[in-house]
């Protein structure tokens, strides 16, 4: 063993300490970098040399740079991210919808509905006075305006959901591409360094996967070569560098649906922001939008039916108070033309209907109850009658093509007051004008009567139920988000506890490696002095 060996040992100490300082510095520099996993230098003794006295150590060498990373915690983080993403989107959407129905702040319909009801009482109290009649028209107008504003708010939220569905899809695609790119880089880097890991690239990829899982439910597995395969359902979204992106395509009904490789996977998306948005869209359409439209349609139907029975101050009768309900037709057939009219308002259930065809027959189903209303052989040009509605379909239809008939879709946006003050039918007879208020009293009675198209609830009860449902959905979403957030925080704490950088710890490491560096330098100095002593002999 020559004296020069001591130089080598000192040099190895210098290199190792310097590397330790680099790693410590890197940790300190990334203390706030999202997804960064703290790194640690792994040192080991260099291979010893055999001497007469035994094996003699030859200093230190760097075995590797370890990344403090726990795959189990990370997987929990991904799953939790999906749940949190979903519940956050749901909670945000429901909170906004709730504001639309916030009767506690004077928003919502109950005040306007009640004032409309009160105005009918004013007419019943003074049927011959025009001011009472004008008040009723004004209150009815306000009632419709409030309903329109509420529907507008709900539609705006639904539009935003559509826009955000598109945005989220783009973000997902962008993340998938970057994960694919990182797969490539990691493959490239790690194939050149056997046993070593591209720590920082892996950190980046894992951060992207975490971000992705906040948007959609995915799973992933790591290949032996270090690349990850990202999976949604049965679809491989990323495989090495190959990416299969999502596309959000707007359907005939104006709603976006999500496709991968040409297949509609909308119904399989159950978590993440995208899952939350799709779920919120379903809830809002099913509860708030449908409920509000059904309530307004029911009010219009019942009041119109009774109003037609009465007589205005001008002696006219058979007038609707509101413009009559119109049917909205969604024709999803290629070649057929469809027309539909309401033949008997009294029979209208206020359900929406789907007419679907097979090779020879048509089937009418209620979209609300799912029950079959009627069916029969399809003959072009024939009229299909059900629940007070006549539908005429002409032309060829193909199997599984359908037509949707809705008495609700346009009911809020297309309704106006159809009478002037003189035509308000407070009287039950043309010969008992102007102070006969019997028809007005009958209309007042409607407000206090269970309505069959509202499941036996009164107008007020139905609306109250709608507010309660909205509040419950919002409350549940908020609670769920809080719960998921707490869980996420806990998992993040576990992750941070293992992988997070502690500046105090790094400060200690800094001193540790600084001192080691100084000591290593001292070894070299001593070796140098020894050499000098020998040279000067």
């Amino acid at each position: 063993m020559s004296l020069f060996g001591l130089f080598d040992i000192g040099k190895s100490a210098l290199f190792a300490s310097q590397m330790g300082l680099y790693v410590t510095g890197h940790n300190i520099a990334n203390v706030n970098t999202p997804g960064f996993n703290r790194q640690e230098i792994i040192l080991e003794t260099s291979n010893p040399v055999a001497t007469q006295g035994g094996f003699l150590g030859r200093g230190v060498r760097i075995a590797g740079i370890k990344r403090h990373f726990d795959r189990f915690i990370y997987n929990q983080l991904l799953i939790q991210g999906q749940r949190l993403g979903m519940s956050r989107t749901l909670s945000n959407t429901m909170s906004r919808i709730e504001e639309t129905f916030n009767d506690m702040k004077g928003l919502g319909l109950s005040g306007a509905l009640q004032e409309f009801f009160n105005a009918w009482q004013e007419v019943a109290t003074s049927p011959e006075l025009l001011p009472a009649r004008n008040l009723l028209i004004s209150k009815a107008q306000t009632f419709l305006n409030v309903a329109r504003e509420m529907e507008g708010s709900i539609k705006d939220i639904l539009k935003e959901i559509e826009v955000s569905t598109g945005d989220v899809t783009e973000r997902i695609n962008s993340l998938l591409s970057r994960i694919g790119e990182l797969n490539g880089k990691i493959l490239q880097v790690e194939s050149g360094l056997s046993g070593s890991r591209a720590n920082d690239l892996r950190d980046q990829r894992e951060e992207l996967l975490k971000e992705l899982s906040g948007l959609i439910d995915i799973s992933y597995y790591e290949e032996e070569n270090g690349s990850v395969t990202v999976v949604h359902g049965t679809f491989n979204l990323v495989e090495r560098e190959t990416v299969s992106g999502f596309s959000a395509i707007t359907g005939n009904d104006g709603k976006k649906r999500i496709y991968v490789s040409g297949q509609d996977i909308t119904d399989t998306i159950r978590s993440g922001e995208l899952g939350g948005a799709l779920s919120a869209r379903g809830d809002v359409e099913r509860y708030q939008l449908f409920g509000l439209r059904r309530l307004i349609a029911s009010i219009i139907k019942e009041i119109n039916l009774q109003h037609r029975q009465g007589y205005g101050l001008d002696g006219s009768t058979g007038n609707d108070f509101f413009t009559p309900i119109n049917l909205h037709i969604d024709n999803f057939t290629r070649n057929a033309t469809v027309s539909a009219t309401i033949t008997d308002m009294a029979q209208l259930t206020l359900d929406e209907y789907e007419i679907i065809f097979d090779t020879t027959n048509y089937y009418v189903r209620s979209l609300q109850t799912g029950s079959l209303i009627t069916s029969g052989p399809y003959l072009s040009g024939n009229t299909i009658s059900f629940d007070g509605i006549d539908v005429t379909i002409s032309g060829a239809v193909a199997q599984n093509e359908k037509v949707v008939i809705s008495p609700l879709r346009d009911v809020i946006s297309g309704s106006w007051i159809a009478v002037d003050d003189l035509k308000i039918a407070a009287s039950s007879s043309s010969s008992s004008l102007p102070s006969d208020n019997l028809n007005a009293l009958s209309i007042i009675n409607i407000f206090q009567t269970p309505i069959s198209s509202l499941g036996g609830a009164t107008f007020n009860d139905y609306y109250n139920e709608l507010v309660s449902t909205t509040a419950t959905l919002s409350r549940t979403a908020q609670d769920s988000m809080r719960f998921e957030q707490n869980l996420m925080d806990e998992i993040m704490r576990q992750r941070e506890s293992l992988s997070g950088v502690s500046l105090d710890e790094e400060a200690v490491n800094l001193i540790k490696f600084q001192r080691a560096f100084e000591a290593g330098a001292k070894v070299i100095k001593v070796a140098d002095e020894l050499l000098e002593t020998i040279i000067n002999l």
Partner: protein
């Protein structure tokens, strides 16, 4: 547990955020005075609150309705009082004014009867808020008009009774004129006048208008003083009386003194019937008025209850809120102080 730097930052951030959220929430409660700011704060509470509000609004409307009714009742009562007084005056004329030998007295009675007739007509056509209150539903037209062809007073209204909605049913606020001013035979009518001449009363009711026509037949057909005439209402009666004191029929043609005196005497008992009827209507009106007053009181009590319940459900306890705000502020302050201490020190600060 190993603690990383970002755990400390995150913990502090979360703590500050929670304290600020609490403070903001309490401040909003204080500003609005409400405990429930949105339905999801208390789903059942908000549902009850909406229900209370709807009911409060309804009851307030019922009170407005009852005010309209009350005004009409008071007005009707005054009119019916005047009708009753006028009938009493007319009765006095028939009781004390039968003195054929005194033309001046007859003239006076004739004029008084005409005045009362016109006044009664005026009363029957009383208007409240632009409507003729005794016309049933047909309030845009006068209840009674004088028909110059038949020389009779005719009812133009119907039997419509307007109900005003209340929380517990409804109350009828008007009395059709035919039920007030029409003449009806009530109980046994006299069968002869004071000189022994037979008098016969018969009546026929029109069920659609409520108008009751009374035919009075004095003497037997063929008698020189045989007389028959009809009246349908108290204005007709006053009219017949007014002409009778002038020894005239209602068309101005002369009639004998005997016939005139018979007419006056025969109508005298009908005036009593008419007055009884008006008093009954007045009593009916008063009963409705009392019912309405009681109902209004009940509604007001209910309204108070509901307002209390609404307040209990949705209003914040301001003392409690103020205390909570203080607590939140103190918590926030402590959090900030602690954060300053925690964030200011790291080992790096001590490495000089």
């Amino acid at each position: 547990m190993r603690i990383s730097s970002s755990m400390i930052y995150e913990q502090i951030k979360k703590g500050l955020q929670t304290s600020l959220e609490e403070l903001s929430r309490r401040n909003e409660e204080l500003a609005t005075g409400k405990r429930i700011l949105q339905p999801s704060d208390d789903v059942t509470g908000s549902s009850r609150a909406i229900d209370y509000r709807v009911n409060i609004s309804s009851l307030e409307q019922y009170i407005r309705n009852s005010t309209t009714g009350e005004i009409q009742f008071q007005f009707t009562d005054r009119i019916l009082g005047s009708v009753s007084d006028s009938l009493l005056e007319l009765k006095k004329l028939t009781s004390f004014g039968i003195n054929p030998s005194d033309p001046q007295s007859r003239q006076f009675n004739a004029e008084q009867a005409a005045r009362l007739r016109d006044y009664l007509l005026q009363l029957s056509n009383s208007r409240l808020s632009q409507r003729y209150i005794f016309s049933g539903f047909m309030t845009s037209q006068e209840s009674f008009i004088y028909n110059p062809v038949t020389r009779k007073y005719e009812y133009q209204g119907d039997l419509g009774e307007r109900n005003i909605p209340l929380s517990n049913g409804a109350v009828t606020v008007n009395i059709p004129g035919s039920k007030v001013f029409s003449t009806f035979l009530r109980g046994a009518a006299p069968s002869q006048v004071s000189d022994g001449t037979v008098v016969n009363y018969s009546q026929a009711l029109d069920p659609f208008s409520g108008v009751n026509t009374i035919t009075i037949e004095i003497g037997a057909p063929g008698d020189p003083e045989y007389d028959t005439f009809t009246v349908t209402n108290i204005m007709d009666m006053a009219n017949v009386l007014s002409f009778a004191w002038r020894y005239q029929d209602i068309d101005g043609s002369s009639i004998s003194e005997t016939k005139a005196m018979h007419r006056i005497e025969a109508l005298s008992s009908l005036i009593d019937d008419a007055r009884t009827q008006v008093l009954e209507r007045q009593s009916e009106n008063a009963t409705r008025q009392v019912f309405l007053a009681q109902e209004t009181e009940r509604i007001k009590a209910l309204l108070n209850n509901l307002k209390n319940n609404l307040s209990k459900t949705e209003d914040a306890d301001l003392t409690e809120v103020a205390v909570e705000i203080k607590k939140a502020e103190t918590g926030l302050e402590a959090m900030r102080l602690a954060s300053t201490k925690i964030l200011s020190g790291s080992l790096l600060d001590f490495l000089k």
